[in-house]
Symmetry: C2
Amino acid sequence: VLDAARALIEEQGFAAATIEAIAARAGVAKTTVYRSWSNRATLLVDLLVEVATEAVPPPGNDAGDPMRTLRTELRRGAVALNGLTGRLLTSLLGEAQEDPEVRTALLEGFFYRRREASVAVVRRAQALGQIRSDVSASLVTDLLYGPLFYRTFVVQDPVSEGVVKQMIQYVLDGLRPQDTRRK
Amino acid sequence: VLDAARALIEEQGFAAATIEAIAARAGVAKTTVYRSWSNRATLLVDLLVEVATEAVPPPGNDAGDPMRTLRTELRRGAVALNGLTGRLLTSLLGEAQEDPEVRTALLEGFFYRRREASVAVVRRAQALGQIRSDVSASLVTDLLYGPLFYRTFVVQDPVSEGVVKQMIQYVLDGLRPQDTRRK
């Protein structure tokens, strides 16, 4: 069913992916689709989670340098936002502004989980003294992800890898622990 | 006509403000409305410009300390995003993701102008050595405004004045000219 939804969106755009069209494409009854997803929004959020997880695997909790993890995630995020992940996210965000059902599905099914994973990586970086620890980890996450999403969804201008590298650099410069701040 | 649109939105929400309802409320014919605005999107963007200009006057080009101007604009912006400005912007941004007409009206009628004004203030701050001048002024603008819009539109969590102050502080810390960077 998710593959059918994905194919429909890639071929005909977001609006074409109705429950009816998805069921027809997948060769199942509408009632079968509704057994797994209570509405179109939750189905599309599940597709978003699948697509986004492929494009930007969520950071693990244990391994590696947290600063490198953050940089990798942001760079991959910028690339993904220019592709299907971005198109799905843009459309769902648009619908979420007007439709509370979409909003809840998107926040609870996608954003809160991704955000929690990022916040955990920021905390590890703070524990290692790589990011100043007197700033809340969720504010750090906003500062890192905000410019990327702002460019993509508000100004609607794609972010190149070069720009995302600069974004990360300057934000992290401002969040350096006071004693190791470079001159 | 704009007052009628505003009253309708405040009383009945964004979806109620159709051209038909706005014309009826203003006591004019629909054709009169269409003489000034080619569609609903351009009318609502004009209303947004009016509401946003009241809430956050665009920074002038000549007077005062640019850093203070930026801080004031961001703080007022955070307050405005929690009110009618935010509701209008949220709805229009949502529609813009699906409707190219709304997208163009919103970007050209609102965002590009506000952004240009902010970029000009950033340039003045760079000329005065308050912000490092080796970073593009539009990237600085993204770093400053991104977290605010990200919180409001993506994470959908209102930003308090305390949080916006912190956002500004840490971003500007990262953009300090190298030689005056504080230890």
